[in-house]
Amino acid sequence: MRGAGRRLMPLLRPRNLVLASVGALLVAWPYLGADRFVLHVAALTFVWAVVASYWNLTNGFAGITSLGNMGFFAIGAYTSAVLAKELDLTPWATMPVGALATMALVTVLVGLPVLRLRGIYIALLTLAFADALPSVITIFRAWTGGGIGLLGIPELLEDLEKWQAYYFALAFFAVAQAALVLVVRGAPGLAFVALRDSEPFAQALGVDRFKEGLRVFAISAFFTGFAGALYAHLLGQISPAMLGIEQFLMVISMWMLGGAGTLLGPVLGAAIITFGNEYLRVAGSLRLGLLGLAIVITVLFFPGGIMQLVGRARGFLTRPRRGGSDPDTVDGAALPVGSGSETGEGR
């Protein structure tokens, strides 16, 4: 029953075929005549897609209402950038260090206190954490450059070309998504589905909310931090402005609009918002209005986000095993998200 045939079959599912051709297209894109600007934005999209996906991991899948993920991103970016600049190390060495440092810091400083709390309190504490970071960056301005930002961060390669940046970002994105699939389909993912469906039963069967939460936090911090590090070395400069409200709104909208609790949603959201945002820069302040309108309309009419639209068009792109006709999800697109259902005692 575990023969090659059975293992090959799922690979040939239409869903996977679509994914594979999209992947091939992404690989071939620079050869198909994408210009500098498009490649630049695409590379950023990959980075943001990872950040959004892992934000969605904590919030959409695990129901931990974290609002501090931009903080994780900044820690990774700064750690790697400062190490590479001050110690003259290659970014290839400092990026993993940055990611690990983010994981350690976030798990100890945020994860341990936060996971004793519930719902909206987690949101508040993580937000306060991210908002305290610009001050910390300023206090350590000797290394971080303070509000001026860090300039001249060593790039991934000497004279990094746009198409190289694109491929590095794409490769990172692929690895991060693969890891995300493992996490979601693996033990932590299973644990959180169980906790959400029936917390007492899950606990009785040995599921440890705290431990699984910490694990998800650590994984999320690792990849978000890594994304931050990559971002720093792709752009060559960073500043505390990355912790500003605009960036926060952008990234949070990516997974919220894309479809919380889905794997593809945040990626689509990242693509649409990053590209939309850049192309709408010519439209001035209208950009803001359109973003706000998109969010409001999505919530009111397509609560499952873009994935709901996709799911409506074709069932196979959604999550076939856990989606389907689940009465608790909207058109099988979105999984419940912890924030509300958890804090609300009386509904």
Binding site: L117, Y121, S135, V136, I139, I295, T298
Partner: protein
């Protein structure tokens, strides 16, 4: 000593600003469990309306405030009946309302930018002038802000305790099923809560506009500050929010005096973590959510 007293006074002023920022937010959350991300923007909208009435149209300040609050009532009803009511009926209501109010905030910023432009505006001080005390001078407007926050707290407390609507709101806050059992019309109470919270928030925006000035962008700052204070004091607890606001205000002033202004946020965070460790429901938050 004078420096200390002076800083303490600054702390109280800032504290009163924070208390005003937090009040509408905590009431709305306490009763309906809707966390209003557009809180800061509701306040800014009211402040802009008052500016428009008082400065642009040259109306008397109380007239402007009354008109702005009237608009707040309309906005509250539109928000609740037009959107929130439907969202609350979904299983994903917590997430839905959060996202909705977030979108609303962005839209409000855009609308303000289009209508009033990006330049900084201010609401005229309610009480111009200042008064001399032994350690320094205090602006009358600042004293007014401190008084107003305390008076508002008392009024809110009285409203919740004495009036029928207030009692029903408290009942809903304590137990939604219980309130339904005794025949409270939830829609009516939620509608009333939204009106109450929006009016309070609008009022807070007007008060803040006299001191911190406003741009279309500043709502985020007000929201985040209010957010932290409300959590600190215990979501849904009005006295808790007030205590937290003054506490943080004084901490902020003393940190500025002895460490430097740049340490304010880190100090907040540490205070916050310690407080939550000791009391996970916030300082005075009775309910564990």
């Amino acid at each position: 000593m004078d420096a200390f007293l002076n800083s303490l006074a600054s702390g109280l002023i800032v504290g009163s600003l924070y208390a005003i920022m937090a009040m509408g937010l905590t009431i709305l959350y306490g009763v309906s469990h809707v966390f209003n991300f557009a809180h800061g923007h509701v306040a800014v909208v009211a402040a802009y309306l008052v500016w428009f009435a008082a400065v642009r149209l040259g109306l008397a300040l109380p007239v402007g405030v009354a008109a702005a609050l009237l608009v707040m009532v309309v906005l509250a009803l539109a928000t609740y009946w037009g959107a929130i009511r439907g969202l609350l009926r979904r299983s994903e209501w917590g997430f839905g309302t959060l996202l909705f109010t977030l979108g609303l905030a962005i839209l409000a910023e855009y609308a303000l930018l289009e209508l009033f432009g990006p330049r900084v505006k201010s609401v005229p001080a309610v009480l111009p002038g200042s008064v001399r005390l032994w350690f320094g001078r205090l602006a009358l407007n600042d004293l007014f802000l401190i008084t107003a926050s305390v008076v508002l707290m008392v009024l809110v407390g009285a409203f919740l305790k004495r009036t029928l609507t207030g009692q029903a709101m408290r009942a809903v806050a304590q137990s939604l099923p219980g309130a339904q059992v005794v025949g409270i019309d939830i829609d009516r109470i939620y509608g009333a809560t939204f009106i109450f919270a929006f009016v309070m928030t609008g009022l807070s925006g007007v008060l803040l506009g006299t001191k911190t000035y406003m741009t279309p962008h500043i709502g985020w700052e007000w929201m985040i500050k209010g957010f932290v204070i409300v959590a600190f004091g215990g979501l849904g607890s009005v006295p808790g929010a007030i205590v937290a606001a003054f506490l943080l205000g004084v901490v902020e002033a003393l940190v500025t005096l002895y460490l430097g202004a740049i340490w304010i946020w880190p100090a907040w965070l540490v205070t916050f973590i310690v407080a939550l460790w000791l009391r996970p429901q916030g300082i005075l938050g009775g309910r564990s959510t």
